[in-house]
Symmetry: none
Subunit: 230 residues, 4 copies
DNA sequence: CATGAATGAGGTTTCATTCAT
DNA sequence: GATGAATGAAACCTCATTCAT
């Protein structure tokens, strides 16, 4: 009782620890072997716990995977939301969204791999996953609607589709890393990819005025960039 | 379509028919249930053949799925290659690539879904699928290298990444359809999506000159569009 | 196809054979180990078939047990029904019902044990079993209603309860055998038990007239009994 | 009833309370789900105690169930014994036995259900349960032996079998209630059932003289019945 | 070619029991 | 005494694959 309310604020409670250990192990095995190869036995061994304990914390395999997804996704979504709801030009927000994705990749590439390769494209049945994904796209679509109203987005652009395309670009950019098309250890390439994804996208959808504002922003950013990242 | 009715299109013996029936059934089940739910028994039932017959034509489940993938992909790739190797401005080629993808979707949405959703998934390495995918991206990347040499593509754009982003945009555009974000029966929306994907992408990466050439092309295309499509 | 319609009349069809083998094995294991100890693996070994084949013929363990019950019970019920629907005094019918139960015991004591000990008294959830049991009791209750109308059954006797008591007596009589209270190999005792169950019951519920008719029947029966049984 | 509210009825320390709470919960779960569905976790939840506490009071599941059985059964048996060992005609005793069974049902139908439904069931040999049951039958059989010696019971009746049949009738009468064949809330029906079970049985096995004595008893009983019961 | 019964390894899931706190 | 997390053996069930007809 007291364990849940008092200690579970951020990292406490022995129960929470174990649970998280298993979750983390699941992400690992998942990223390594994919949905197929991911046997509960592997997860348990990886987490260093007994077989049955997985079932103490998760109803069954599916719920475990679902939780892996939601855990990973919810953090991502909340960061995206923060960016979307902040003040500022849409160009800055789009760059912010790209940054969130790439930062997540930098922190835990395996988790991102699971999100991208194993779940985001996953089979129909799992309603939650699709909803989480489509909800995020819709959230950004509304951002684009407002950007269109303020004259930043070109009028002939469909906001929903634009949102889908932005995430498509980000996702495939990261997929290129995950699949080894691009060397993931090449940090300079990583940086260029991030720039290009946001840059090309914005070039493609912004109005002349917004693009010009973007341009001036980019130049000032270049000077302070290297300091920020490391 | 023509495959089913005529018997001699491509080695159309009776054997070939059966084989193709099974393959088509596999695509269906695959599209409906994903790699997971796809049991040999389902494929056999869907095809209306006996359980064991699947094993007469395919060594095992993996070979069947591999064949499903290659069959679907090879046609797609060869059409892409034709577009890439033709003469003409890169803008036209990018539109051509988008057209190929959308046309494939129009002909058989389920097959496209399989290609989209199951890429890079399932049994460990399955090199073929990834290779087929990455090879195609590399092919288009070379196209962009040439376009950069001829001054069509902006110099600061990375060709490989550009290629990835193009396919990312196309894929997510189609995924939006597959996921029901966009109504797939709305043909006007389909048309607009196709235009926007290619258009935004090109806006984002082309030089001023190439973009201008694009612009003039687009205007002439608008007049003849409806005739082409049906 | 032809296997089912042409050969399945009584004992034919290879499929039916296997199925029956498994069913019979299930009855054996069931009678020997009870519901608890009855593992699918045991049934398969007893039947001399592979593990998975049990699941080829039966959806799961429960369906197997359900089938064991229905198979055993349906034969029993149809014989009871034949007795109930025949012409004649109610006394004869009651004796007929007792005979059916004891004959079933003589033919396959294990099957009767399963019916009595494992299933007839079984846990709530299984609707079919209870229904089958209560339906049979109701069938005989109607027989008693008619017997009451014709003046054979005493008017103050409740027919439904009488039916329950008849089966209670029969069941406990057989249970006494099953539990070893009475030596099951003592055929004379068996014969006496049968007589007493029907006799005491009838004494208890028949009117004076019907009881007198019974008495005269019993005497004539005694002379021809020993010849019949062996 | 009184067990729960007062703390010193029968070794009523705090420990005893807990133990009894668990036992009572076990009866409940047992009656509701049968031996199968009865998991220790269910018992603990029903009793409102922690998982492990069940193991503090009972060595293992089997001992718990055994205790449930014995607790319920021992009270029943001692009451039966009191009836059997009392002075008086056998007819009165048979009615007394029936009364004990029905009274037990009135006080706690669920406990009776467990006793009825689970007798002779589950884990292989569990000698105790069978013994408790067969011992009781043998005890009454001896009562019938004496009744036969005193000319109350007809000479051709087998005492052991008669005893089995009596309990068979009682059990199935109660089973009819448990299974819902008879409405358990219909107290008049309950009363009639009790009368009929004992009455029919006695009619079936008593000699003329004993039956006549019975008859006169019954008439006098009818007058004072309602007062006795409540 | 065609069939579908038969096989059994491999995975998931349950749950009685233990034990550290 | 009391708790419930932790353990793991043992059962169930699935399904790719084989094979006799």
């Amino acid at each position: 009782m007291s364990q849940q309310s008092s200690k579970a604020v951020e990292g406490g409670s022995r129960e929470g620890e174990r649970r998280r250990t298993i979750l983390r192990a699941a992400i690992d095995v998942f990223a390594r072997k994919g949905y197929h190869g991911c046997r509960i036995a592997d997860v348990a061994r990886e987490a260093g716990v007994a077989y049955g304990l997985v079932y103490h914390y998760f109803k069954n395999k599916d719920e475990l995977l679902e939780t892996v997804f939601e855990t990973g996704w919810s953090g991502f979504v909340s960061r995206i939301r923060a960016v979307v709801e902040a003040e500022g030009p849409v160009g800055l927000k789009v760059r912010g969204i790209t940054d969130v994705a790439f930062e997540a990749y930098r922190v835990d590439p395996r988790a991102v791999k699971v999100l991208i390769v194993e779940i985001a494209r996953s089979p129909g049945g799992h309603v939650n996953r699709q909803n989480a994904f489509t909800d995020t796209i819709r959230m950004c679509a509304e951002m684009f609607v407002r950007a269109q109203a303020s004259g930043e987005l070109r009028p002939e652009v469909d906001p929903l589709l634009a949102s889908a395309l932005l995430f498509g670009s980000i996702e495939m950019g990261l997929t290129a890393l995950v699949l080894g098309l691009v060397d993931p250890s090449d940090t300079e390439m990583l940086e260029r990819a991030r720039q290009q994804i946001a840059g090309s996208f914005l070039h493609g959808v912004l109005t002349q005025d917004a693009a010009a504002a973007e341009e001036s922003w980019k130049k000032s950013a270049m000077r302070s960039k290297s300091a920020k990242l490391l």
